[in-house]
């Protein structure tokens, strides 16, 4: 915790980023605690403790382009079902989070507190990335069985991502150079690598991703 300098005077864009991350990570901790305790790692707990040092950020989010799509995305992964949490939160959102954290942790336009927060976040999501494949394999399976589960559980999440994209571009592209298209490129690259390791047919997985993102 002491590696973080004062985060009380963040600019509006960064305060918004912290508010978004707070929501993502609070939901992750809540769902992992109930359904997938293996993902409630010390790294994740440290990250959430840090995010909690700031107010929740409702006022930063209110009325922004991100407010409604973020709420929809959170709804799409909120579940009492282990498979949905493991796939939606543990696989997809952790990889999306890791891509965001990596981008901001090395971003010269971001403040030092944000860069340090994001370095911790990248470590926490990176840790999850190492744990999730084995959990998917043991709890759901591999290959075609796992692909079917991913197609069922992740489709709502992917469909809700598009609306979030506009907000991300509007809020973060000019100042931080973070674009939704680049972010999705990062996420897809990691997802495909994980899925290949789990015996999923690459073409079928890419076709699913494309289909879900096209809204079909």
């Amino acid at each position: 915790m002491n590696v973080i300098t004062d985060s009380t005077d963040l600019g509006r864009d960064e305060a918004l980023l912290w508010a978004i991350l707070f929501r993502f990570e609070s939901l992750a901790v809540e769902q992992y605690a109930g359904l997938v305790p293996a993902l409630l790692t010390p790294e994740k707990q440290t990250l959430v403790a840090l995010l909690r040092t700031r107010p929740h950020g409702d006022e930063e989010l209110a009325g922004t382009q991100l407010e409604a799509p973020l709420a929809e995305l959170m709804r799409s992964v909120t579940s009492r079902d282990e498979a949905r949490v493991l796939i939606g939160q543990g696989l997809f959102l952790e990889l999306i989070g890791e891509a965001i954290y990596r981008s901001f942790s090395q971003n010269a336009a971001a403040s030092e507190p944000t860069r340090k927060l994001c370095a911790l976040g990248a470590a926490a999501s990176g840790r999850a990335r190492t744990l999730v494949p084995a959990l998917l394999r043991t709890r759901i399976g591999e290959g075609a069985v796992l692909l079917q589960a991913i197609m069922t559980e992740a489709a709502p999440l992917l469909r809700s991502l598009d609306d979030l994209g506009d907000g991300i571009d509007a809020m973060f592209l000019d100042r931080f150079g973070l674009s939704f298209a680049d972010l999705m490129g990062d996420v897809a690259a990691e997802l495909i690598a994980v899925c290949l390791d789990l015996g999923i047919d690459r073409r079928k997985f890419v076709a699913f991703l494309t289909s879900a993102l096209m809204g079909i």
């Binding site: 994209g165 490129g185 897809a188 690259a189 495909i192 073409r203 076709a207 494309t210 289909s211 096209m214």
Partner: protein, 246 residues
């Protein structure tokens, strides 16, 4: 394979319109491909005989598809094809004017062929609906793969130990090329669905096929995926909102 054929008069109107647009694009797209290989032959005399052979093969594909269309009561929609292909032709002319052989070979050998391969592959399982199409599309698919095989070998050798240079070239060419051909993929998606194929699957197959081609010339897998998905995302998002992709 060609055992079940729907007579043109009995084909539902949305399917009839869709297959006319798709066949139009396939036929006139093959003609454009033939033109591109001829332009490439002009730019590199060493490869001219082979590239002219490729051009003849592409022209043959167009002729086969036209015959198969006519015998199935399908009138290829030239206006639709021209509208889709004009942007490509403009890019091709620009690369040719600059005598940029490598840019042109990426546009044709990677981007255009990726669209053709993804859609022809996906067409074969439903080709029995249109008498005589299975054989010609299967043969065209085999020949497109043969062309791509040569293009990959050329680029691997040309950029052997110069992957960064290839990357710079690919990024430059892809921005326009994917916008154009990927845009066409999105624009035909609904027509593919109407004839019983999956537009989304074809789009995914094109992205995956193109990513693999970049990998064969030296991109790391994750790097290639990131690059291709990053370029397709704006097109995918436009499609989702019902906006024109070009």
């Amino acid at each position: 394979m060609d055992t079940v054929t729907t007579l043109p008069g009995l084909r539902p109107q949305p399917e009839q319109e869709a297959i006319e647009k798709l066949m139009g694009l396939a036929i006139f797209g093959e003609k454009v491909a033939a033109k591109i290989y001829l332009l490439l032959a002009e730019l590199k005399g060493d490869f001219a005989p082979l590239l002219k052979k490729f051009a003849r093969m592409e022209a043959n594909h167009g002729a086969w598809f036209l015959d198969a269309s006519r015998s199935n009561g399908i009138e290829p929609d030239r206006a639709f094809a021209d509208n889709e292909l004009n942007y490509l032709v403009a890019q091709v002319d620009e690369h040719f004017k600059k005598k940029d052989f490598d840019a042109l070979i990426i546009v044709q050998g990677f981007i255009v062929e990726s669209l053709a391969i993804a859609t022809y592959e996906s067409f074969l399982p439903i080709a029995h609906k249109y008498a005589g199409t299975f054989g010609v599309f299967a043969r065209a698919l085999e020949e497109e793969r043969y062309h791509v095989d040569w293009v990959v070998r050329y680029l691997r050798l040309r950029y052997f130990d110069a992957v960064d240079e290839f990357r710079t070239l690919a990024e430059r060419v892809n921005v326009q090329g994917i916008d154009c051909i990927g845009g066409t993929m999105m624009n035909i998606s609904e027509y593919l669905d109407k004839i019983g194929m999956s537009g989304a699957y074809c789009a995914g197959a094109m992205m995956d096929g193109y990513t693999r081609l970049l990998e064969t010339v030296g991109f790391e897998q994750k790097d290639a995926t990131k690059h291709v998905v990053g370029m397709f995302m704006p097109l995918i998002r436009k499609y989702r909102r019902g906006e024109k992709t070009k």
